[in-house]
């Protein structure tokens, strides 16, 4: 006898004895698909047939043997920490007629993240019914179930908290409807879609995104597509919540209490933080119709009034009527809109059909009031604003009409709604035109502002006569014209932008000019320094030549002016004593590193380099000792007598710069 199985990917194959194995936990049999190597659950009965066993005992023995072999091969059985409460309770009620089913349940428990007790078994593809569940009948000898352990499906702890983004307003679709739409929009295989639909149908309280993810994973959908589907589902749920929130705001504005949805008396709402609208009672009423607070209960339309649709259906095509009393809070908040509604029965009828229209009307009237207030402040509304306002309203009305015409149950009212909205549009246009005309009246203060601006402009331009004045003048003139116009808001903005741009250009020009001026000053100062240094160097060279060449008159003795003496020229022009220090250091074999070249000394000051740390030491010209300011080391300064220079001054004041020796 051949036994055929279907793997989770939909492949049907014939089971041979070599395909039979046990799962990693060793609790149930499995068969591997030859096409995709996916495991498929196989019952004990089929194993008995395939393997030619006698009864279940032999099958259990075979299973234990295979599990032992797996353990010997090093396959670590999957051990999960979730409680086995359900399995234990099941084992107490297992009967011997079909003992293989609980093992399957165990595998289901351990290989899936779905909550236990799901009435649909994706692995076998057959829904569980009361007749197929083996432990539905308790043996006579078995003890009665404990009251603390009810036979209801055990609740396994969730890995993640279920994401619940649904609101509580009754107009919301139930989760299953949203999920069905989401699943239909995905690219999942049809078989997977069908199974999910079945699974959804068996979960009337709704499916959380977490449960959807678990189901998708269990059905063999890869992680990324499963996550994508779950995200899409969450997005649809959040979209639904936003719509519900808008409706809630509408009710809040109207001061009408939020109506409770007509919920069936479900026996178990323990997990239902979200609404469930029963879908089995024929066509569900329109959310707008069901939640319209202005409709009396007997006047709700029910999509054509066909018989068999309950009380609403028997009401026939009676038009929904609005109750004036329900609009009293609106009269307190917005008397203008209330008067408009009362004076126009057709408009009131349209509002009765679509409460969102009332909300939009309130927004429009509030927008008009805001525009009037701005007009009172600014002196008018620009043409662009009026045009944008009208186009927005037209778009909104078109959208509403499209939505209304898309619903077949409201086709009869679409034409009437359109007429009402056109009427409202005409009213709005008239009001906006009146506002626009009122805005054209010039404000005398604005004209004075223009004059003031003109005066300021001319004064500013008189003070600053730079290159960009012409351009800025044009920009300011344009700005002044716009100030006087009071109706061309966009021109004023453009003029201001132009002015700001030219102002920025003027600032950049000013900055560039100042930078060039600084550079010019630097060049001039550098030129002065070079000229002064060249003159001084020339004089110094001339003095040295005069003193070194015999026969020439002694310039220093002749002049006697201290300014012509090299010593009086300052230390920076003297032969740098650091050269002598270095030579001496070499002569005395100084152990330290050669001193650094000290900077040029200021006039009247000599510069030495510390033989220890190389830091520059500034000393007076006649100093005989020096202390390093850095290392605090003291040095003595030996002044060697000047060489005999023919014709030199005997007092030494005219002698060449003295050589300085530094002693350690």
């Amino acid at each position: 006898m051949t036994v055929e199985l279907t793997c989770m990917n939909g492949h049907t194959f014939e089971v041979t004895p070599d395909m039979v194995g046990v799962v990693a936990s060793g609790t149930s049999f499995k068969a591997t698909c030859p096409e995709c190597n996916a495991p498929a659950a196989i019952t004990h009965a089929k194993v008995i047939e395939v393997m030619g066993l006698k009864d279940n005992n032999e099958a259990r023995e075979l299973k234990k043997k295979m599990a032992a072999e797996l353990r010997e091969k090093g396959v670590v059985p999957k051990v999960k920490s979730k409680p086995k409460t359900k399995v234990e309770s099941v084992k107490t009620t297992v009967i011997d007629e079909e003992p293989d089913e609980p093992d399957e349940i165990e595998e289901e428990e351990e290989d899936s993240d779905m909550t236990s007790g799901d009435p649909y078994s994706p692995a076998t593809g057959t829904p569980w019914t009361d007749a197929s569940v083996p432990f539905a009948h308790r043996p006579i000898n078995a003890p009665p179930p404990r009251p603390t352990m009810p036979p209801t499906p055990a609740i396994t702890p969730r890995r993640h908290a279920p994401i619940d983004v649904m609101g509580t307003v009754g107009s919301a679709k139930d989760r299953n409807t949203i999920l069905r739409e989401t699943i239909e929009a995905t690219n999942l295989p049809d078989a997977t879609k069908d199974r999910i639909r079945k699974f959804i149908g068996l979960k009337p309280e709704g499916l959380s995104p977490h449960e959807l993810y678990s189901a998708l994973t269990y059905l063999g959908v890869a992680n990324a597509p499963a996550l994508a589907v779950v995200r899409s589902y969450e997005f649809d749920l959040s979209l639904q919540q936003q719509e519900v929130e808008q409706e809630r705001q509408l009710y809040t504005l109207l001061g009408v209490p939020m109506p409770e949805p007509d919920r069936p008396t479900s026996p178990d709402y323990s997990r239902g933080q979200f609404p469930f609208m029963q879908q089995s009672a024929g066509v569900a009423p329109s959310p707008n119709m069901a939640q319209n607070p202005f409709l009396t209960p007997t006047s709700r339309p029910s999509g054509g009034g066909s018989p068999g649709q309950g009380e609403n259906g028997r009401a026939g095509n009676k038009e929904p009527q609005i109750d004036i009393a329900t609009l009293l809070p609106l009269a307190m908040q917005n008397p203008q809109l209330f008067q408009m509604l009362v004076s126009n029965p057709q408009l009131m009828q349209a509002v009765a059909q679509n409460p969102m229209m009332l909300f939009q009307m309130m927004q429009m009237t509030q927008g008009n009031q805001t525009a009037q207030a701005q007009q009172a402040q600014n002196g008018g509304v620009s043409r662009e604003e009026v045009r944008a306002l009208i186009s927005n309203e037209m778009a909104e009305l078109k959208k509403i009409l499209t939505e209304a015409s898309g619903n077949p149950r409201e086709n009869a009212l679409a034409e009437e709604l359109r007429q009402n909205r056109q009427f409202m549009l005409e009213i709005m246009k008239g009001q906006l035109a009146a506002n626009n005309n009122a805005g054209r009246q010039r404000d005398p203060l604005a004209e004075q502002q223009g004059e003031i601006l003109k005066t300021l402009l001319h004064n500013t331009l008189d003070r600053s006569n730079n290159d960009g004045t012409g351009v800025i003048l044009g920009a300011l003139e344009e700005l002044k014209k716009n100030q006087n116009g009071l109706g061309s808001g966009s021109q004023s903005i453009e003029g201001m932008n132009l002015f700001l741009r030219y102002q920025e250009l003027a600032n950049q020009m000013e900055e560039t000019r100042s930078r060039f001026q600084d550079e010019r000053e630097k060049r001039e100062s550098l030129k002065d320094i070079v000229n002064t240094a060249a003159g001084t160097i020339g004089e110094t060279i001339a003095g040295v030549i005069q003193q070194s060449v015999p026969g020439l008159p002694n310039a220093s003795g002749a002049s006697g002016a201290p300014g012509n003496r090299p010593e009086a020229l300052g230390g920076s022009l003297r032969p740098r004593p650091v050269q002598d220090v270095e030579e001496e250091a070499e002569e005395y074999d100084a152990p330290t590193a050669p001193p650094q070249s000290p900077p040029a000394a200021p006039p009247g000051v000599n510069t030495l380099a510390c033989l220890d740390c190389g830091a520059p030491i500034y000393v007076p010209s006649d100093a005989t000792s020096a202390t390093c300011p850095k290392c605090k080391k003291k040095f003595g300064i030996n002044r060697t007598p000047p060489p005999e220079v023919p014709g030199g001054a005997p007092d030494g004041t005219a002698s060449p710069p003295v050589d300085e020796d530094v002693e350690f």
């Binding site: 200021p602 009247g604 000051v605 520059p616 030491i617 000393v619 007076p620 100093a623 000792s625 300011p629």
Partner: protein, 127 residues
């Protein structure tokens, strides 16, 4: 405390005013003039009063009473007192003058005199 740390630590607004006055006075002096001033024991703080008044104008009057405590703290805690602190400032702000003060006979005493003059002016102004 090293020389490099002098510029980092803030000893108080009054002590900082002394530093600013000292720097301002030395900026208009050449090294040669400094040496001559030291040897002639001449003061460079002719305009100290005006400068102290200028800098103290940025300080609220109620805070000027804290000046004495700031000087006392520096005198007690800093090595060499206020004169040592001024020398360390000069090593950072005017290394040439600092070296000249070290290597000129009577330079430290001259500096103490200058600091004393500044403090006297400050004391007169804040009294």
């Amino acid at each position: 405390m090293g020389v490099n740390d002098v510029g980092e630590k803030y000893h108080g607004f009054a002590v900082d005013i002394v530093r600013k006055v000292m720097n301002s006075s030395l900026q208009g002096t050449t090294p040669g003039q400094l040496v001559e001033s030291i040897r002639a024991n001449a003061s460079l703080m002719q305009n100290a009063s005006g400068q102290i008044r200028y800098y103290s104008g940025f300080i609220p009057p109620f805070a000027l009473s804290m000046a004495g405590r700031q000087f006392s703290k520096v005198e007690k805690t800093y090595p060499g007192g206020i004169n040592g602190l001024v020398m360390d400032w000069l090593a950072v702000d005017h290394p040439v003058y600092h070296s000249l003060l070290l290597n000129t006979e009577g330079g430290k005493e001259w500096l103490e005199t200058q600091v004393r003059e500044i403090l006297d002016e400050f004391d007169v102004f804040t009294r």
